[in-house]
């Protein structure tokens, strides 16, 4: 039902040729939704084409994924587009279902910037502001009508850092002594041994005040 837009290869082909590229865009099936990878400089064009020709008139959400282990390492900006005229029951009981698409582009760590889509969907303004404050991604051409530019949405004034990046360390783990298990599966209190791989954001045990007995 959710592959109503077509197979990943067909979507990659259509979008690639619509953008005027030689090769089809890489696309894969992400748990029932087609996810197409768009080159960074064609981000705005690709989304504009999806909107005008593909009928994807609704931007559901826009966010980012930090991929420090990717090849190349960078931050993926992902947008979820929906055709609001489609859906379960539209076109009869055996109808195609909800037509939706995930569009993704990878930004290199050296230059976390991509075109803004606020001229296509004004509602993207809040999504882009949140992605900007949480991941440090710059959206060029951002315009939400207030003239105030790209600014934080949720974090308190004076907050420094981009919290959802994997390199952002959770300082509370080092500064506040916490009794009991800190990770699922730990049965006893105590810092994880250095040989274990720590989850992203958890500081090394050498940070902060030492717990008693270490």
């Amino acid at each position: 039902m959710s592959l109503a837009i077509g197979s990943p290869d067909a979507v990659g082909q259509r979008l690639g040729s619509a953008l005027g590229l030689d090769a089809p865009l890489p696309a894969h099936d992400a748990q029932g939704t087609v996810c197409v990878d768009v080159p960074r400089e064609r981000w705005h064009d690709a989304l504009a084409l999806a909107r005008s020709d593909g009928g994807m008139d609704m931007l559901d959400w826009l966010s980012a994924v930090d991929e420090p282990d990717g090849d190349p390492a960078g931050v993926d900006v992902v947008a979820h587009l929906v055709d609001s005229r489609s859906g379960r029951g539209v076109g009869g009981p055996g109808g195609p279902g909800l037509v939706r698409l995930l569009a993704r582009t990878r930004l290199p760590l050296a230059d976390l910037a991509v075109a803004s889509v606020t001229d296509l969907w004004p509602g993207a303004a809040w999504h882009e502001r949140e992605t900007h404050e949480m991941f440090g991604v710059r959206f060029d051409g951002f315009d939400d009508g207030t003239g105030q530019g790209l600014r934080p949405l949720l974090l308190p004034d004076g907050f420094e850092g981009t919290p959802l990046r994997k390199s952002f360390v959770l300082a509370a783990r080092a500064s506040k002594p916490w009794p009991g298990a800190k990770e699922p599966g730990e049965s006893d209190a105590g810092p994880p041994s250095r040989r274990k791989v720590l989850p992203p954001g958890v500081p090394d045990p050498s940070w902060g005040p030492r717990e008693a007995g270490t």
Partner: protein, 196 residues
């Protein structure tokens, strides 16, 4: 036939009040708590459940309909306290008139709870305001809130209305606190510049 009674107050005279009068004043205060409910997250739903028919904390004398902080004497902070919400909690607590009590309801307001290591969570509401009773749980059962209210009532009943106790409750503000700038509703800057 209406009888004119003066409103009971815990004023300076209460220090000199004879013991039976103190018992009456404590009794009056602990059995007519008006709650300024600071419901922030899931624990607020448990608070609502505790106020509804099955558990019903109104039968303990706790009325959940305070129109605002200025007409309340109990503040129940239920839910995760974020760093962005913390100044609002502090400001509303200061707007409550004395004597006032605070119940911290749920793990998040006790100590940060399951989100203790988050980048934006205040690790316990007692970092900003003094709490009298802590109700543990995630979320606590409504019966746990009833228990917490009973403990608070026992605590009020045991209040010695002595000069030292009143001085400790009043917690006189420091000079820095009194001249701290107010935060405007838009959060865009001080309404009143510091020092004036």
């Amino acid at each position: 036939m209406a009888v004119d009674l003066p409103a009971p107050r815990v004023g300076p005279l209460a220090e000199a009040a004879p013991r039976p009068l103190r018992l009456v004043l404590n009794w009056g205060r602990r059995y007519s708590l008006w709650v300024f409910n600071f419901g922030l997250a899931c624990c607020a739903i448990e608070f609502i459940a505790a106020s509804m028919a099955r558990h019903d904390f109104i039968r303990l004398g706790v009325i959940p309909f305070a129109p605002g902080p200025r007409q309340a004497d109990l503040m129940i902070v239920s839910g995760t306290v974020t760093d962005k919400m913390a100044p609002a909690i502090k400001r509303l607590y200061e707007q409550m008139p004395e004597p006032k009590y605070v119940i911290s309801f749920g793990a998040c307001s006790n100590s940060g709870g399951p989100y203790w290591d988050s980048y934006c969570v205040t690790k316990g509401v007692d970092q900003i305001i003094p709490a009298d009773v802590y109700v543990p749980g995630c979320p606590p059962r409504p019966e746990a809130l009833l228990h917490g209210i009973l403990r608070l009532q026992e605590k009020i009943a045991a209040e010695q209305v002595s000069g030292a106790a009143i001085a400790q409750r009043r917690r006189p503000a420091s000079a820095a606190q009194l001249t701290r700038p107010l935060v405007g509703p838009g959060g865009s800057g001080p309404l009143r510049p510091a020092g004036s």
